[in-house]
Assembly symmetry: C2
Homo-oligomer: 338 residues x 2
């Protein structure tokens, strides 16, 4: 599966950054920003960030990287962050049990809280756990503006789609407009680019309800360890989960797809290719000195084994710390689920 | 508009009472019970009553009579009563403003509380005001079992129907199953017979979710003062509202359709026809000695003016008392909206 971002951006009518804004370019996720909507105008004044989580499994490093980015944005802009957990959608879409839909949400919640979000500036809502009345009311107001034929055309629903999933479109729009309704702040949605149809739907509804149209930062996918474009929770060697123990992390990294040559001597002669290397991508995301690594790799002075060892050390130190924070997060849940 | 109850009962596959059960026959609304589903089996053990209110205007005597019946059922069976207010549906269906959907609910709530429901045994939920998380969760579980093609076939929705209204089908099913989910009590729904499609849908879903199938008591309509089969909130002389002042009540009753003859002398000679008389119907519902009235009317010994005078006195005394209780209800709202 290879996503053609250029095609999507063009098809969706989103904007490219001609020059990456200063505030974003020093963030490690900046290179994953594919496109945006109205970010430059909205970010001039106070705004809120909306970035949801659809909990259908455990948290992996791809999920974590996105929310690390959201947290960095909160620090940079001192902005309100709203994190809706759409476990209703996952229950309706995936056929998981109701209990799993709740358990995954509670589990993932700890990973997010562990990243250090400011509880005063962060609202987390789990649709099937602490849905506020005013969010349901907003979803109802939104739903009056959306016909079945709209969701059919936009999202590919059929007459056999359950009515919960159709209604969830309204709930998702309500998630995006919630900070605007509640605090009068325009929303910037941080989201994978393939979710843009919801942004377009929301911009349309926002206008009808008299709210500020939401903006967006569209993210591309963090590559999988196997070199696919996107990490998959179902393929065991594709993703590292936040709860993986050091030995598992080691195994997965040792099996990872790299940009190295077939043999050591070829690598020394011709150099590797960091741009397709999943190990390089993770070293970059988790804070290694990749400028030097890149030079050495391309020059044939650094072997894949060195990078893998460095990544194993880096990730295990990071995850060790993350798991400690994750344990402490259990005491903070109430602060976030207001 | 004349509803053919026989046809509906047959078409819907509901049951007629061969003999009206003792517990019901002494209730003044008994003659409005058209049919039922499983009432005789469910009422042998503890059960809950569900009877909803769709607040799209002020309360009139037709609404009041239904809830007086529900209250009498609570007294008789000491049963739990659940009264869901579907102001979400009214907002989605009627195009009323969001504010009106809330205001009508709060207004109608006072009329219901004024009837003397036991707060310990009565749950009132206004969907857009105090929707409990567990009711939303139940609606989501229900919605996974209903496709768009089902609501299309059952309720006549089209692709231009808004997705909120489609989803409301799941919410209504959840309303009916709520006491079963929450307290383990099978529900008996007290409802106008034309709402039976929702009962059938709920019985189907209940089975799929492993809940006891709800039963029902189907009510026919209280006639309008103008002799139509159903009171209408939009036709000013058709219904008496609980907030009508004594002078208005007098005017409406004086204008009411009766079973009387064209002239006094013809009435004395041939007698009147109580079975088509709206004034007689209201005297009956609000506790007059209708056995004697009927005899005298048919015998030509009682004129329509007498009946109208008696009804004006009766209703104004009743409404005077009701409005007093309605005022006091304002202090009880919190007890019911748990």
């Amino acid at each position: 599966m290879c996503m053609d971002y250029d095609k999507l951006v063009k098809e969706f009518g989103a904007e490219r950054f001609e020059v990456m804004p200063d505030e974003l370019k020093d963030l490690r996720m900046a290179k994953y920003i594919v496109s945006h909507r109205d970010f430059l105008s909205i970010s001039k004044k106070p705004f809120a960030i909306v970035s949801g989580r659809g909990p259908s499994g455990k948290f992996h490093l791809g999920h974590l990287a996105t929310f690390m980015f959201v947290k960095q944005m909160q620090d940079k802009y001192k902005c309100r962050v709203f994190i809706p957990f759409s476990n209703d959608e996952k229950f309706l879409l995936r056929g998981i049990s109701f209990e799993d839909a709740q358990n995954y949400a509670m589990d993932n919640l700890l990973d997010i809280i562990a990243l250090g979000f400011d509880p005063e500036l962060t609202d987390i809502i789990i649709d099937l756990y602490n849905l506020p009345q005013d969010l349901y009311n907003l979803a109802i107001r939104v739903s009056r503006k959306i016909t079945y034929s709209t969701v059919k055309a936009l999202l590919g629903f059929t007459s056999e789609t359950n009515i919960g999933l159709s209604f969830y479109s309204a709930m998702q729009v309500a998630h995006i407009l919630y900070p605007t309704m509640k605090y009068g702040l325009p929303s910037v949605v941080i989201v994978a680019i393939d979710q843009d149809p919801f942004i377009r739907l929301t911009r349309d509804i926002a206008e009808k309800l008299g709210y500020h149209k939401p903006g967006a930062l569209h993210l591309g996918y963090i590559p999988s360890l196997q070199g696919e474009q996107k990490m998959s929770s179902s393929s065991p060697y594709s993703a590292i989960f936040t709860t993986d123990d050091p030995e598992t992390v080691k195994k997965k990294v040792m099996n990872a797809f790299t940009g190295g040559r077939e043999t050591l001597s070829l690598q020394k002669e011709k150099g590797g290719n960091p741009s397709i290397c999943s190990v390089y991508a993770y070293l970059d995301l988790f804070g290694a000195d990749t400028e030097q690594i890149k030079k050495d790799c391309v020059a044939g002075k650094r072997m894949c084994g060195d990078c893998k060892k460095e990544l194993i050390t880096l990730l295990n130190a990071f995850l060790d710390e993350h798991r400690r924070k994750r344990e402490k997060s259990k005491n903070l849940v109430r602060k976030f689920l207001k």
